[in-house]
């Protein structure tokens, strides 16, 4: 229950106009800090919904696949350059951001992550790694402004942010593939 309150407070905090304005004024912070924090807020709040409607998750997200798909769709949608611009231009899109990232990405991620197999987990991370490298390359190499609200230099910074995250996830995948944790456990 504590987690729900933390998540809820985090969501409220992020929705405060000065906080939202500050985070959205810098492109990389908008995408790589505000948006993940919104997902985390949902992730923390998920426990409440899981306790309240266990049957719903059990029936509709039995194997975790619909949830992880929903999570991926929402995440990828918010990587479209236009989505970020639209969030700054249209109030409704901004509202959709504050609803979709916590409740349609954070909540299903938590419910699905414990249900899907480790192979599936790795596949999801691999897909996002590839997407991050592609987005990084796109944001760095694109000669024009992709977002009308942000300067090209911010776009390049965001691109490097994507690449850095991609590298981190690759390291994790390699580590995961090479190291067998049970070998280090005491009998």
């Amino acid at each position: 229950m504590n987690q729900f309150i933390f998540g809820f407070l985090l969501l409220i905090f992020l929705a405060l106009p000065p906080v939202a304005y500050l985070l959205e004024s810098i492109m990389i912070v908008h995408m790589h800090m505000q948006m993940p924090l919104l997902v985390i807020a949902g992730f923390l709040m998920a426990i409440f919904f899981q306790n309240k409607f266990p049957q719903f998750f059990e029936n509709w997200n039995h194997n975790g696949i619909p949830g992880i798909l929903l999570f991926s769709i929402i995440m990828i949608y918010w990587m479209i350059p236009r989505a970020m611009d639209d969030a700054l231009t249209f109030q409704t899109v901004e509202l959709f951001k504050y609803i979709s990232l916590p409740f349609l990405a954070g909540v299903p991620l938590r419910d699905s992550w414990q249900k899907i197999s480790s192979k599936m987990k790795n596949a999801v991370i691999m897909i996002f790694t590839m997407i991050f490298f592609a987005m990084g390359w796109l944001y760095i190499k694109w000669p024009e402004q992709l977002c009308n609200n942000y300067l090209i230099i911010e776009q390049v910074t965001l691109g490097w942010g994507f690449l850095t995250m991609g590298v981190c996830m690759t390291i994790y995948l390699v580590y995961n593939g090479l190291v067998d944790p049970t070998a280090y456990e005491r009998e």
Binding site: W60, N61, D86, N148, L151
Partner: protein, 210 residues
């Protein structure tokens, strides 16, 4: 078994939702950046020019509606710009050169509008226009002194201008073609001079036939 079926159903539902989300969010998979969306929507809308007062490089002041009855070929720039605008204006000059001379000044006028009225006074504009061999008559450079009018024009055409606080601006660039009634006719890629010139010539030739 029921769970399996419901989960399968949920999977399809999520797919459908994702498809709709991307469809709506990109205007039917057409516009992935706000810039393409802007152009796409403007061409649907064909907005009319708002009423603005221009002050040109000769210091003359007149409303933009004075050009009604002529096509207008418009760009938005500022003279202190070092990267994009010189290219934009140079390419504008190359389009100008490709329009048959009988149309120039008769059916179509070229107009470069500065969004930096503080710096771009008539002498500055006059100096700038000479760089591009603009004659100041059939190709004019002008500023809009009233900030509200300027903003409304920029907003109508979806020109986003972000001042960097040091006298420079980040902005989007394009060629705008306005018809004789003062309504937006087309938005063209300013880096593709030949296509833009062909388009303008087509429009002007069609006009003559009618």
């Amino acid at each position: 078994m029921i769970q399996k079926r419901q989960t399968g159903f949920a999977f399809l539902l999520v797919l459908l939702f994702g498809f709709s989300l991307f469809y709506v969010g990109t205007d039917g998979f057409k516009a992935y950046t706000a810039e393409t969306a802007r152009v796409y929507n403007l061409l649907e809308e064909k907005p009319a020019l708002p009423e603005v007062i221009l002050e040109d490089s000769n210091g003359r002041e007149y409303p933009i509606s004075e050009f009604e009855g002529n096509y207008l070929f418009i760009t938005f720039m500022y003279t202190a710009c070092v990267d994009e605008c010189p290219l934009l204006e140079m390419n504008m000059g190359r389009v100008y050169d490709q329009i048959p001379s009988e149309y120039i000044g008769e059916d179509i006028l070229f107009l470069s509008i500065s969004f930096d009225p503080e710096q771009d006074d008539p002498p500055t504009l006059d100096h700038y226009k000479n760089h591009f061999q603009a004659d100041g008559e059939t190709w004019r450079m002008a500023r809009i002194n009233d900030q509200t009018e300027l903003n409304s024009l920029l907003k109508t055409y979806g020109v986003t201008v972000i001042p960097d606080g040091e006298g420079d601006f980040a902005h989007n660039s394009a060629f705008y073609l306005v018809d004789e009634q003062g309504r937006l006719k087309d938005i063209m890629d300013y880096t593709d001079v030949d296509s833009a010139a062909n388009r303008v010539n087509d429009v002007l030739a069609n006009e003559e036939e009618e």
